[in-house]
Every structure is written in C-alpha cells, then in structure tokens.
Amino acid sequence: MHMADALLSPAVGTTLWAGTAAITGFASHRLKKQIDDRTIPLMGVLGAFIFASQMINFTIPGTGSSGHLGGGMILAVLLGPHAAFLVMASVLTVQALFFADGGLLALGCNVWNLGVYPCYLVYPFLYKPLAGGGKSPGRVLTASVVSAAVALQLGAFSVVLETLLSGKSELPFEAFLLLMQPIHLVIGIVEGFVTAGVINYVRTARPEILASMAASRPLGRDVQLRKVLATFAVLAVVTGGVLSWFASTHPDGLEWSIQRVTGSDSLPEAGQGIVSVLKRFQEKTAVLPDYSFAPAGNEAQKAEESPAWPMVDGGTSAAGIVGAAVVLGMVLLVGLGIRSFRGRNS
C-alpha cells in the first residue's frame, strides 16, 4: 500500500517530506548520542534482512495465499524506535529507488505511514505496555498482533487522507476507507502473528541477542520518551495544520468527495477548475498552481461561476490531442535516433 507519486500533489508530498526529514534528522541525532557504534552495521544489515525475509513466504492457513513479514513493528521491537525508524526509512528509500515502489516524492508519505506510526506511536504507547517485559510469549503475541494491526490501520488511513487531499483521485472518502481498512486489518493481524513468532523464536534460540539489543536502546527510560512525544506532537500539529489548510483551500479532494457521498446530487455537468484570468496567470507562474489563491467556497458555487474545463473548445482540445500525438512521436524518434547512432558508434 505504498503511496504513489502519480497520485500525489506537490503540497502533500513536500509537507510530508519535510515532516519525515525532520524526524530523520531527530532520530539520527538521538541515535548518534546513544548507540554504541556496533549498531551501525547491525541496522544496515537488518534493513537488508527485511527485504530478504520477504523472499521467504508461508501459506496463510485455510486460504492458500501466502504472506510475509512486514517490517516496522519487528524492527521497533528489536532495535528500539530511533534505530527502527531509520532502518525503515532506508528500506523504503531502497524500495522507492530500486523498485520505484512508491516513488521519490511519495517517500515522505510512505516513511510517515510505515515508519513513524509503528516506531514512534504504536511501539512506545501500545506495544511496550501490552508486552510488558516481553518475557511471556503470550503477551508478546497479543501485543504484536494488536500493534501491527493498529500501525497498519493508521498507515492505511493516512494513505486515504493523503490521496484525497492530493485531489487526483475521485474516490469518495468513505468508499476508499472501506476499501483500505479491512484489507489492512487482515494483513496487520497476519503480520502481527509472524512478528510475534519470530520474536519468540529469537528469544528462545538466542536470548542474549534480545538482551544485548535492549541494552543499547535506552528509550524505555521515560525522559526521552517525553521528548519524543513532544516532537511528535509538534510535527503532527504542523502537518495537520498544513494539511487542513490545504484541504480547505482545495475543495476538489476531500470535501467534494464527502459532499458527493452525502448525496447532493445536483452535480454540475461541468467540472470545477481553474478559469479566471488571474488563475491562468497563477497557473503559469506558480509552482503549485492548484493550491494557492483557490477561491474559497464550495463546489456548487464554483461550478456555477466557471465554464467547463478547460474552456471547452473543440479546437483547442483537438489541438491538444494532435499536439500530444505529435510530441510523443517526436520524443520517440529522438530516442530511437540516439539509440541507432550509439549502436553504430559502438
């Protein structure tokens, strides 16, 4: 459920980038002071482990389909929140770069959804209290299942929000939610079981490993926890603020969907959009043309005062299509030309 570049608006993308960049800086800073330098290769190799473990699969009982290990939760348990967050961020970066899974702009969203929640929210406030000292396999199981499920629910919910706020998708809020949450509930529960299994296995096989890892991660001590919490809260407020400002100025996403679901059926024939001269000027000069100076007010009003997008005029649009075809053809020719030239030269 990686958020993808293609669904993203620059505002949402850059906001979450800023948020996660700040947390990355914070985590690195924290970690630099805390860890013994043995942890550096360990973290890196565990990131690779997360990938490698996904190559091993199991059959989910009764379904015949197969599952594999997630990541954020097990890392948090094994490494503590800061290190786990950085590893998860690295894993997602590699996915974005190597697999183009998610994408570079969406990296901020994905790190937020899959890294921040499990490491900084669920692990300290849900997993730790539930698992207690982590000595009882039963408690570890409960804690893992609940934590993994909650973390993924939060992540999935964020994907919904991020998508709708970006305004590229027409999916109504509720339908989208109904699509995402139940699937991720199942995935989360399965992941929780596996996480608990692996943790308990490691505990019985090599108890010293968990002990030594626990020793090099003092987050359990609550002074730091409070700071983490404060930072998290500030970031949440900032992000929330930006997002909601953005949502309020950008009605074609969330509001429109909600409105649509709540049944104001008198939907206009023509789409909303950017029409006035000012706005066209805006579009041509601003980097984020959609988002600034968008007229307040709801969809219906907007639709009334604006002609259909983009000034429906057969000529212009036909010109657009023809132009697109010509452009694509030229691009293709350029590519092929260079290729055959290179081929002849080498």
Binding site: D5, L7, D37, L171, R206, A270, P289, W309, S317, I321
Partner: protein, 269 residues
C-alpha cells in the same frame, strides 16, 4: 519464483548503473536534483492535464537513449511496480462522468481525463526514478544524499542496506531452495516452519553484523564512516541542471503541446 524475478531484476538494474556513458559520469548530485525537480514539476500539473504531460517524456527518453539503457527493460519494470496508483485511478472514470471536453464530437468525461493524467504521471515518475538508479548507481545516489545534507547516519544505513541486500537475498533464496528440496510440496510452508526460517535468517543476520563490525574495527573504524572527497560539480553538471530547469520551465508554463497541435492542424488542414 516470483521473488527470484524481482531480485534478478534489481541485479540487472544495478548492473546498468555501472555503465560508462557521459550520463553515468555526471555528478550524482546533479542527477538527484534534476530528478527531484522533474518529479515535482510533473506532479504539479493539474488533475485534468493530459496533453501538456506528453513533452515531459522527452527527459526520460533522452536520458535512457543517451545512457544506453534498454527501454524495454525499464518498461517491463514499470509493469511490475505496485499498481496502487492505477487501481485507485481507475475509479475516476466511473465516478466523475461529467463531460469535460468534446473532441471531434466525442464527449470525454472529466474522470477519463484525470485517469489518463494519472497513467501518464505514473509512467513519467516511475520511469524517471528507475532511470536515476540505472544511470547513477545506488552508491552514487547515497554519496549525493550525503553531500546534499542528509544525516550521515542515515546514509550509512542506506549503504549497508545496499551492500547486504544482495548477499542476504541470495542467502534467503538458498534457504528457500533448501526448504523446497526437502519438503516435496507436502509441508514445509506452514507458519511454524516459516517463523523458524525467518528466525534463523535473522540470527544469522545478527551474527553477520557482528562479523562485519569486527572487520570494520580491524580496519580502524572509530564510529564514523569516513568518506573521500568525491568529484566536484563540473561545468557539464551545471549545464545539465540548467538545461533540465529550462526544459521543465518551458514545458510547465508554456502550452507547447497545444501550439504544436495547432501548427500540425494548420499544416494538415
């Protein structure tokens, strides 16, 4: 076997990155910056924009052609990327049925336009990101990150992750193979066995980390991963970034496609 495919694919992508064209030789920072600007620009195009997206294909196509990256490989990789964006986007034509434009008598709905727009953006962003790695190499991107101010601890993680990605994936593959060989499809894929396999892999990973740490200490490691001053930004790099910015500005703010279309219509008509 699907995982093997995935793995070998990144192996191939990785191999491409060690090519020797001038695109490969550009400073990694310039390519990272150019790619980010490119992605931002593409994504900033409005929801219903379709035609104006097409000139942006020039950037990845030029890069691929100049760097000798096989287009078919990139295209195939694009297909196996998680189709989340497309799955979500495909709802648009169903939900947004208002006619947005009539072309040659055919009405096109807003949803259809926005769906096409998502498809194009998907192709552009995914293709260009893959090309970044294919022309820069992962270590190159890491060095660029470090020099662009990303915390060094994080970058170190990335480098270790990259280095051991291949080692551990092969290890995992061999474990899977060993299990398959002795399980005859009958059993062996239950959660119980799975947990042990992953647990074993984990324990060995931890042991390996320990050995790596020993090896690092043996070579004077003192807590910071040192780096060598890399190449300097050369004139070629500045030129590359400047050209990219010009290109992005032009296609973002001037309706080039439409102009060309008019021209073509004029010529034809």
């Amino acid at each position: 076997m699907t995982f093997n495919r995935n793995y070998f694919d990144i192996g191939r992508l990785d191999r491409l990155a060690y090519g020797r064209t001038w695109v490969h030789r550009l400073d990694p920072r310039s390519k990272v910056v150019a790619t980010l600007l490119y992605l931002l620009t593409v994504v900033s195009l409005p929801k219903y924009e379709v035609a104006a997206l097409t000139p942006f294909f020039l950037f990845p196509v030029l890069l691929a052609a100049l760097a000798g990256i096989p287009a078919r490989f990139i295209l195939r990789k694009m297909l196996i990327v998680s189709p989340f964006a497309i799955v979500i986007g495909i709802a648009n034509p169903l939900l947004d049925t208002r006619t947005a434009v009539v072309i040659a008598g055919t009405p096109l709905s807003g949803g259809l336009l926005s769906f096409f727009s998502i498809l194009l953006k998907f192709a552009l962003t995914v293709g260009t990101t893959l090309l970044l790695i294919a022309t820069t190499s992962f270590p190159g991107v890491c060095h660029a990150f470090r020099r662009l101010g990303v915390p060094s601890l994080f970058v170190s993680q990335l480098m270790f992750l990259y280095r051991y990605l291949f080692v551990l994936m092969e290890e995992a593959m061999r474990i899977v193979r060993a299990r398959e060989m002795r399980s005859f499809g009958a059993r062996g894929a239950e959660i119980r066995v799975y947990v042990r396999l992953v647990g074993t892999l984990f324990l060995r990973t931890v042991d390996r980390a320990e050995r790596i740490y020993d090896a690092m200490l043996s070579r004077g490691f003192q807590g910071d991963i040192p780096t060598l001053g890399r190449s300097r930004m050369a004139a070629a790099d500045l030129l590359f970034v400047a050209t990219t910015v010009g290109f992005l500005g032009l296609f973002r703010f001037v309706p080039v496609t439409e102009g060309i279309g008019r021209l073509a219509q004029g010529v034809l008509g």
